[in-house]
Chain length 340, copies 2
DNA sequence: TTGTAGGCGTTATCAA
DNA sequence: TTGATAACGCCTACAA
């Protein structure tokens, strides 16, 4: 007579207690490594656990303990970006490392479609995580609302426009980085430097323009700034065409992102000019684009892993009840390649 | 007299019931959209919910329902690969889409360090997910062991060597794809075709070599196969250097991955030869590398999103109690660019 | 050092 | 339609 081969119920503390001839309390104490468990009891319990194949049910434990030792990592990228942006992977890993050190599990939740939004919001409100890290959040979607409403300890990577109160934000120093790379461009001897300024309605876009202006100082010329709506290749190409029409004597350009820069390079080449001889080009992000252009882009590298780690540090602090900084700003490196 | 501003306890069904003047059962029925709730009760409950700010506790629900509507997605990649392999992102998205349609939450768990392994294993055994998708598993680590032991419904993307019994595996047809692209290379008129064979200790690596050998048939020459340990750029470059030393008359090479191919192209160029005129190069994966080389790589494209979707489909089937196929093999496309 | 019993927030069964 | 009440699996006083 064998046991039924059908899905057998998982063993519980109760089963172990029965098998070992002790009480559930004692089993629980043993499992949690507390003292006050006699050698005899310990042995009996160990044998029983092995025999019935007991494995603790975290869900039940979480329920009674009112904490999960888990934090959610929500990524809310447009489909394409998620696949090709190397930064996001680095951020993930950076956060995971920090959380892992603190013995917290990180659960990545992907928001891709509309449906996902609500499901993730439910997941978060369900008490399955103690806190949350959010990258590239929308200002006002169900996810951020739920986080707000629940006062779920949170840290954002990036600062969604109009973001609310009680969370932390970790951002890169867009102004400083833009200024640095612009200065570097000036130091190579460029005299008429323009900018393709993208997404001026976002903090990142506006800040990069500020940095550019700051670096140029008196040499700043409003007419050499070409605003484009998006951080995209085609926006960069079109913007550069217009800029070249307006200022044929341009000899340097700062594109607000690598994709924009790649587009700009195409426009420059089609105008018969060469990069970097006639016009030096610098970008921003050190994304996959930066390696794909010819010549490869000089650009700003985001400290992606650092962003993740810092975000993790901030939620962990909040979990401990601290009130960490509301915004921390990380410096970027410049990588100098062939385009300027 | 205001409410205490300190962390107020979250409202429960109990609170709502009290406030609405009905029983907990009725509230529960309302929340779950069952019928048999009178209009009067409904209104009272809705008001109460709004007033006390009730949000259901999923953890508690999971405990009593004995299911979570969540499946874990475990990625167990070496650090660097995770960051740069676009396939993993696609797989993720493919799986998420399918799970989302079935109204299941996907939780990505990253295994990066040793510590992660155990924590993830605990997470899985804790009853926090109903099933699990595993990409690039190790043959015998705590994670796979726990999955086995718990008979957790599982689907693997890729087939870890020596993998056990009751799960499903979704793989690409490495042999077939390698043979196809090798044949294609032969059809362009190459006569002395070598291979940089990476990661021969993995199924993928060994299978790609098999396909290569199969396509070449009698023309196969053991001496033209250069084994390298990893799917990496530097391994490809170094391997190609050795191969060229040994066989200067080579006119075609199949690199076991795009990164390897990119490295190979560098070595070919530094030897003074040109691609594709002197030597045709083909890769595998259609990763970011493939677009980055000059000329761009002819390569094998993995149906990455399909892999994820299929894996999701398989766990979902198991969750329903079905016994789906134990291995499903997906075909790859060839994308022909300038490198051969 | 151990056992008892109450509670974590839900759902589900069964009378009423 | 509704309300008790018993699980779900675990932790934790408290008493012994």
């Amino acid at each position: 007579m064998t046991t039924k081969p059908t899905r057998s119920k998982r063993a519980t503390v109760h089963d172990v207690a029965l098998e070992a001839g002790v009480s559930r309390g004692t089993v629980s104490r043993y499992v949690n490594g507390e003292r006050y468990v006699s050698a005899a009891a310990r042995e009996a319990i160990e044998a029983a656990i092995a025999k019935v194949g007991y494995v603790p049910n975290t869900a039940a434990r979480n329920l009674v303990m009112q904490r999960t030792q888990a934090v959610g990592f929500i990524v809310h990228e447009p489909h394409s970006l998620f696949v090709e942006d190397p930064n996001i992977g680095e951020i993930l890993l950076g956060a995971n490392t920090r959380l892992s050190e603190a013995d917290h599990q990180m659960a990545v939740l992907i928001v891709d479609t509309e449906r996902d939004t609500d499901r993730v919001a439910r997941y978060l409100s369900g008490g399955l995580v103690d806190g949350v890290i959010i990258v590239s959040a929308r200002a006002d979607d169900p996810v951020t609302r739920v986080v707000d409403r629940l006062r779920l300890p949170a840290a954002y990577v990036g600062h969604p426009p109009g973001a609310a109160g009680s969370a932390s934000f970790v951002v890169i120093d867009n102004v400083g980085a833009a200024a640095s790379i612009t200065r570097r461009l000036m130091e190579t001897g460029r005299r008429r430097i323009g900018m393709i300024a993208a997404a001026l309605d976002r903090d990142s876009g506006a800040d990069r323009l500020s940095g550019f202006r700051e670096a140029l100082g008196d040499a700043f010329d409003e007419a050499l700034v070409e605003p484009v709506p998006l951080y995209s290749y085609s926006a960069g190409r079109d913007g550069m065409r217009r800029l070249l029409d307006r200022a044929p004597d341009l000899d340097g350009v700062f594109a607000a992102s690598d994709a924009v820069a790649a587009g700009a390079i195409e426009a420059i080449k089609e105008s018969g000019r060469s990069v970097p001889d006639d016009i030096g080009v610098v970008g921003f992000d050190d994304s996959a684009w930066a390696q794909r252009t010819t010549p490869a882009l000089s650009t700003v590298r985001q400290p992606a892993a650092g962003l993740g780690a810092e975000a993790a540090r901030l939620v962990l602090a909040r979990l401990r009840g601290d009130e960490p900084a509301t915004e921390v700003r990380l410096d970027c490196d410049i990588v100098w390649r062939g385009s300027a």
